[in-house]
Each structure stands twice: as structure tokens, then as C-alpha cells.
């Protein structure tokens, strides 16, 4: 039962209980108590449902993308280093040539 259904049921049972004699009245009110306890058990349900609506990307997938980007950066750095090495020679040659 949903929270609203339980509330309606409690109201209905309480009204019925008021018109009963003992011991039926006590037993009917005991049913009400059980429903009240059930409702208390739902105290965090709404908060949980709200949080579980949040859908996050797969962390493992993000890890893979980070690793791929790091590899590409390392490769890029290697190319820059190679470029710098080549250019040093070129600069030296240029200074001699001019």
C-alpha cells in the first residue's frame, strides 16, 4: 500500500473502531497501530526515491576515457620532445647558415 492508501485505511479503521464495543474496538485499534508503524517505516522512502532518480555515468567508463586521454597526452609529449630535439639541431644549423 502507498502512504496515501495507508492514511485512508487508518482513518476508515479508526472511525469503525469508535463505533465498536470491547474487545473488538481494541483489536480494530491494534490494526490501526500496525498501519501507523508501517507508515513510520516509510519515513525515508521519499528521500531515497528522490536520490535514486539521479542517474550518473558509469565510473568505469570514465576511467577508461581518462586512461585513453593520458595515453594520448604521453604520445603527444613524445612528439613535442622529438620536435624540440629536431628543432634544436635546426636552430643551430640556422645560426650557422645565417
Amino acid at each position: 500500500m502507498t502512504r496515501k492508501e495507508l492514511d485512508n485505511k487508518i482513518r476508515e479503521l479508526t472511525e469503525t473502531a469508535d463505533g465498536l464495543d470491547e474487545p473488538d474496538k481494541t483489536f480494530k485499534l491494534n490494526e490501526v497501530d500496525r498501519l501507523k508503524i508501517e507508515i513510520e517505516g516509510m519515513a525515508l522512502q521519499e528521500l531515497r526515491n528522490k536520490l535514486e532518480q539521479i542517474q550518473l555515468p558509469d565510473i568505469e567508463e570514465m576511467d577508461e576515457q581518462i586512461a585513453a586521454a593520458k595515453d594520448a597526452t604521453t604520445a603527444h609529449k613524445t612528439r613535442v620532445d622529438a620536435f624540440n630535439a629536431a628543432i634544436e639541431i635546426l636552430t643551430a644549423a640556422l645560426n650557422i647558415a645565417l
Binding site: P23, A43, M62
Partner: protein, 200 residues
């Protein structure tokens, strides 16, 4: 050979200067990492607050469950004292059985409700941890991006150095005159550029 070197330099400098990441962007990238640190701390504190609130709600709900259980038991006690003695033996037996059933059911309802509260609280904690892990992972993404942006400095370092050299400045000054001649040796230049492009 001399001409080829001059042309190569003139051809390489403009594209490299044009392609490098502006310093402001690199600074923003570094700042973004710090912004993520702030966001991580904010989410952590927010998560803590949320969990404190959830635990408080759980405690209050459990207290009300205990109270309802007590009320229920107290009603049964009154029933036993006020009503049962005036009943016939058959009625007493029936009432006693119903009372026992009521107590067992109430107890079970209480156990179930407490268990549900505990499960919901555990799910809330798990989700907040997931959120914290996610924002931390976003920072890692930024760190990876930043590593790439900052790695371009090596090339820029050289460019800054070489551009300050008097010989290069004079080369650039006469670039307009020289550039049309580059086409003459374009094959040589292309071969050199292609070698640098693969860079291995």
C-alpha cells in the same frame, strides 16, 4: 640547404604559434582543478548534512514506532483487566488468542518497519557516496585534460626562445618576400614536416 632551412623555419613558426593553447586557457584549466576541489568539499559536506538529517528522521520514526507499540500493548493490558474478567470462558479463550495474534503481528510490523528504515538509510548513504565518487572522477577528467594542455609548453618554450633571436626576427621581417619562394622547394619542406608530424 641554407634556403631550405630558412623556408622550413618560416613555414613552421606561424602554424605552431597559431595552434598553441593561450596561457589564459591553461590558467583556467588549473583553476578548474581547484574549483573541483571546492565542489568536492561542498558535496561532501552536503552529503554529511543529508545523512545526519536522514539518521535523525530514522531515529524519530523508530521512537514513534516504539511509542505506538507501547500504546498497543497498553490497550491489550486494559482489555485484559477491564473486559476479559467479565467474559464467558469461551469468549475469554477467543479474546486471549486474538490478543496473542495482535501482539505477534504488531511486533512483526515493528521489525519490518525498522528494517525498511535501515535499508532506506543504507541506500541513501550509498547514493551520496556515489555522488561524491562521481564529482571526484570529474576532477580526474579535468586533471587529464590539463595534463594535455600543459604538455604543450615544451613546444612553446622553444618558440618563445627562437622568436627572440635577432636572426629569426629579421627572417620574419622579410617573410613576405621569402614566402612565395617556399613553393619552389615545397616537396622538401613537406617531407620534413611529415617526418616531424609522426614524431617517433
Amino acid at each position: 640547404m641554407q634556403k631550405a632551412l630558412v623556408w622550413l623555419t618560416l613555414v613552421l613558426i606561424p602554424p605552431l604559434t597559431g595552434c598553441s593553447t593561450p596561457p589564459e586557457v591553461k590558467q583556467l584549466s588549473v583553476a578548474q582543478i581547484k574549483y573541483f576541489d571546492t565542489a568536492i568539499e561542498a558535496v561532501r559536506l552536503q552529503s554529511e548534512a543529508l545523512i545526519i538529517a536522514a539518521e535523525r528522521i530514522q531515529e524519530q520514526a523508530e521512537a514513534r514506532i516504539t511509542e505506538t507499540e507501547k500504546q498497543s500493548l497498553s490497550r491489550f493490558e486494559r482489555l485484559a483487566v477491564d473486559t476479559i474478567p467479565s467474559q464467558t470462558e469461551d469468549e475469554r479463550k477467543k479474546t486471549a488468542e486474538q490478543m496473542l495474534e495482535g501482539v505477534v503481528k504488531t511486533n512483526q510490523a515493528s521489525v519490518n518497519a525498522r528494517q525498511r528504515l535501515a535499508e532506506d538509510l543504507a541506500a541513501i548513504k550509498a547514493k551520496t557516496q556515489e555522488l561524491e565518487a562521481y564529482i571526484a572522477q570529474m576532477k580526474e577528467v579535468q586533471v587529464a585534460l590539463d595534463a594535455y594542455l600543459q604538455s604543450e609548453q615544451a613546444g612553446e618554450q622553444w618558440l618563445r626562445g627562437v622568436l627572440k633571436q635577432p636572426s629569426v626576427q629579421s627572417l620574419l621581417a622579410t617573410a613576405n618576400d621569402l614566402l612565395p619562394k617556399v613553393t619552389e622547394n615545397i616537396k622538401t619542406v613537406k617531407a620534413l614536416l611529415s617526418g616531424l608530424g609522426t614524431g617517433r
